[in-house]
């Protein structure tokens, strides 16, 4: 890559996030004739640039696209950050355990079950991968064998007369599909770094602003706290209300089955009994 390309305005230098796979068919389809497509300068299309310019000042920006970018970027960036941290932690753990790690003891049947579950969970991925590769091999073998068998019947002038139009139509559909996929790949390559950056910036900005707001406004912090407490109160009230309804339904059913008089015919508890759980009267406190 020349220095002219690097400083060219309007040219976006994509991060080398795509793993270079020399024999990968997809790589060749995307960027034919290049060995490392991730290092190519990718020009930002006009519509993306326009959308970003609208983001700066115009309140009527494309909200859908922004949110989609934020979600995609959040998912990709979140996964990448999590993987990075996992790799770091695992590396530190391996370095800390210089000697061979201890093997867990087996003292009971439950220990054996636990170890079996852990072993199964870790082995399942390898097993699935092996089975998938075997399935692919079997599929290749099947197509190769059947293809060679029926080749004399399908590839001759007579059948070709009938099948040629279908083959051409099929090739056309495949070609159009391939073009669409290529466009998606191109757009994904352009959008992914932008989306990740957007997600990072948005998350850090929101968290920073929220913390600043809380630190500058103690009333707001109290409000957030009281809202949380209020929410718990509402949930408890809802549960209580539902259990009271369930009381009435269950009792009505049973009393009807046993032909007992309904509760509505029964007297309420005496007033002195009800008074025991009456709300306590509060008096306003005079503040001088």
């Amino acid at each position: 890559m020349t220095s002219e390309e690097q400083t060219q305005p309007g040219v976006y230098q994509a991060d080398p996030v795509i793993v270079d796979m020399p024999d990968d068919e997809l790589t060749e389809l995307v960027t034919p004739g290049t060995s490392n497509p991730s290092q190519l300068p990718v020009p930002i299309p006009e519509e993306v640039r326009a959308a970003y310019e609208r983001l700066e000042g115009d309140p009527e920006f494309d909200a859908y696209m922004s949110i989609a970018r934020l979600l995609v970027g959040g998912a990709v960036e979140g996964t990448a950050q999590l993987s990075k941290r996992l790799q770091k932690i695992e590396g530190e753990l391996m370095r800390a355990q210089a000697e061979e790690p201890k093997v867990g003891e087996i003292n009971s049947t439950s220990d054996v079950m636990r170890y079996a579950a852990v072993g199964f969970a870790l082995s399942a991925g390898d097993g699935l991968r092996r089975r998938f590769m075997k399935l692919l091999d079997a599929t290749d073998f099947f197509w190769e064998a059947t293809g060679n068998t029926v080749k004399p019947f399908t590839e001759n002038r007579i059948t070709g007369f009938f099948t040629a139009p279908f083959e051409r139509a099929f090739d056309s559909i495949v070609g159009r599909g391939q073009e669409t996929v290529n466009e998606w790949v191109e757009r994904g390559r352009r959008e992914e770094p932008i989306s990740r950056q957007l997600a990072l910036e948005t998350t850090s900005t929101i968290i920073e602003e929220f913390i600043n707001l809380l630190s500058e406004n103690p009333e707001l912090a109290e409000l957030v706290q009281s809202q949380s407490v209020g929410l718990v109160g509402e949930v408890v009230d809802e549960v209580r209300s539902r259990t009271v309804s369930a009381d009435v339904v269950a009792e009505t059913l049973v009393r009807r089955l046993l032909r007992r008089p309904p509760r509505s015919d029964l007297p309420a508890p005496p007033a002195d009994v009800q008074e025991l759980v009456a709300p306590k009267k509060t008096y306003p406190v005079r503040r001088d």
Binding site: P262, S264, L266, P269, L276, V277
Partner: protein
């Protein structure tokens, strides 16, 4: 089961006197608490007791280990220790006795303590219930003990003593009868909106049009 079985022959919560339908109380505070609410409160209490007794056993084991009684701790608490070298049947009996006694003691102490001090256990408190006895907002120690033992009386015959709440006119179980206690709603209890709607619909089809307006409950009686 007939669908109408769910519906009352007369409007629930309405006192019927001389063919005059009185409006319902603004809320059910001070009314006898029903079976489902009390059952859920009891389940919450049992969960709390389970956690407490687990923590207690764990701490007891730590203490025994600390004082060098690790063999005893293993024999009593370690479920994998069932083998002839640990005493076989004797150890099993000891372990079960410890577990049952610990749980029963915890249940007893927990119930008696909370009824005596504040008239409700944490589970009952969460669901807005209160136990009263003899015109007092708390249960005297003697009657709290009787009520706690009454739980076993109610529970042993397949829980019949608890189910008695469903058919008793004052919503009392056998343990309530033994200890002369009542359980009341301590909050502004209201029925759920859906049940109210169902009752109202039933009344609409079973009551003369002229009294429908009278039956319409005030808004504050309905849980929005």
């Amino acid at each position: 089961m007939s669908r109408n079985l769910l519906l009352p022959r007369k409007p629930i919560l309405y006192a019927v006197t001389n063919e005059t339908l009185l409006p319902p109380p603004p809320n059910l505070r001070g009314y006898y608490a029903g079976f489902v609410t009390r059952l859920i409160a009891l389940l919450i209490d049992l969960v709390i007791i389970f956690v407490m007794s687990f923590l207690f056993n764990w701490m007891l084991r730590l203490i025994l280990n600390f004082f060098g009684l690790s063999s005893l701790a293993t024999a009593v608490f370690d479920q994998t220790a069932y083998s002839p070298e640990y005493g076989g049947l004797l150890v099993t009996v000891l372990r079960w006795t410890t577990t049952v006694l610990t749980s029963a003691t915890f249940l007893f102490v927990y119930l008696v303590f909370f009824w005596t001090v504040i008239g409700k256990t944490p589970g009952k408190g969460i669901l807005g219930l209160h136990v009263i006895q003899g015109g007092q907002a708390t249960v005297p120690f003697k009657w709290a003990v009787v009520r706690a033992l009454g739980y076993y009386v109610s529970g042993i015959p397949l829980g019949l003593g608890f189910f008695w709440i469903l058919i008793d006119d004052e919503r009392r179980g056998w343990h309530d009868r033994l200890a002369h206690t009542h359980v009341l709603y301590e909050w502004d209890a209201r029925l759920g909106r859906r049940l109210w709607d169902r009752i109202r619909n039933w009344r609409y089809h079973n009551t003369a049009d002229a009294v429908i307006d009278v039956l319409a409950p005030p808004d504050e009686t309905i849980q929005q």
